[in-house]
Symmetry: C2
Subunit: 207 residues, 2 copies
DNA sequence: CCTATTATATACCGACCGTTATGGAACAGG
DNA sequence: CCTGTTCCATAACGGTCGGTATATAATAGG
């Protein structure tokens, strides 16, 4: 009691040390979930990709669902970070364009799986995956709210015409984003997606 | 050989007559696939909804995949028929609006499951479902081609400005459609979807 | 009535699912 | 060395998956 354990920062590991890197394993799991969705990714798929056995996975991450939520955290943090940068663009037009081109980079790239992990997982509705779906929908709603606020500000700044409905415009932009990820997942080429964005930008309201 | 069997129109059924209506059973199966996707719909889900046993299902439809393709045929025929009507609208703007409002009616209604059956099934990617995905993608591409041709014609008729890319515009419209079905599946209200469409129409190019 | 044919009902198949019990291996402190 | 703790590896658990073998019921034609 009086030994004054000052929360040893990297606390002394007592037992046998684990033989894999948790972060790297999580990154591999993310890749599998992204490519196959929550239901489509089996424990065997996951453990093989992560290079660990099932008991190790359960000890380190809890269970499949907990692993998914952690993977989704990583996904948002690494891959959807461009959304925060987009909000800081100087004009509403640039916000939109940043969003759309960012979506092409992330969801239409060649290194990662095609399509959007959130979208894929929010549509696969096995009964047990309801909480997964709810999680994705909740995250989407909160980021959408930020976008509405950004467009409200843009209207106040005369950045987009006053008659435009900020909430409607956000829904439109989100629909375009979702369409991009759907088409990317269906095999659309980089050029086709850029054509989509180019045309979208010609439609965007001018101040 | 000489009995001159003139292809008895409703040929004489020889054995025990089936006790269910194939069309009605297929309609029930469509409902299940629509709500749960290909992978999410189990044979038990299907047989219970259809009111028949598994051997009857296999005798009448082949297997799960064949049943799905027939359900998808029915879906396109009944629910996506508005797409053909849309193409016949007099102006490109009305074509687009017909498409978008039709999508709200079909995918945001209260009688049928929310969301688009094709989209749901094209994203659930179990290994065996690759042919499902390919089928959906193929059907989508062919309907998209018709839309491009319609917009080419609209350009020729001065219906949309000459500088607009018909193919890009088609991709944009399709992205909006896909976004509508995604948001409908995620629980968006009818009013929110209409707001999305209203705003989309304010962005649509004027001749 | 008998046979052939087709549909139904039950029970079952092997494979895979997510999850866990079991036993041994690798470390720290005594 | 011994004990306690933590991790790895194997194998197994009950359950569900899509698909079927088997036996029985219902019709048509002879």
């Amino acid at each position: 009691m009086e030994q004054d354990v000052i929360a040893t920062p990297a606390s002394a590991p007592k037992g046998r040390p684990r033989e894999f890197c948790v972060d790297q394993a999580l990154a591999e799991a993310l890749h599998v979930f992204w490519a196959k969705g929550y239901d489509g990714a089996s424990m065997t798929d996951l453990t093989e990709a992560m290079g660990i056995t099932k008991p190790s996975l359960y000890a380190a991450f809890g269970n499949k669902e907990a692993l998914f939520h952690k993977a989704l955290d990583l996904y948002e943090q690494e891959k959807l970070e461009y959304g925060r940068a987009a909000l800081e663009q100087p004009t509403a037009r640039k916000v939109a364009e940043y969003y759309l081109r960012g979506a092409i980079d992330v969801h239409g790239g060649t290194d990662d799986p095609k399509g959007c992990m959130g979208l894929i997982s929010s549509l696969a509705c096995s009964p047990e995956a309801e909480s997964i779906k709810a999680d994705v929908v909740r995250r989407r709603a909160s980021s959408q709210r930020l976008l509405v606020e950004r467009f409200e500000r843009a209207k106040a700044e005369g950045d987009i015409p006053a008659h435009v409905d900020a909430e409607g415009l956000t829904s439109v932009l989100y629909a375009l984003l979702q369409g991009i990820t759907v088409q990317a997942g269906a095999g659309a080429t980089h050029a086709e997606l850029e054509r989509l964005v180019d045309t979208s930008m010609t439609l965007w309201p001018s101040p």
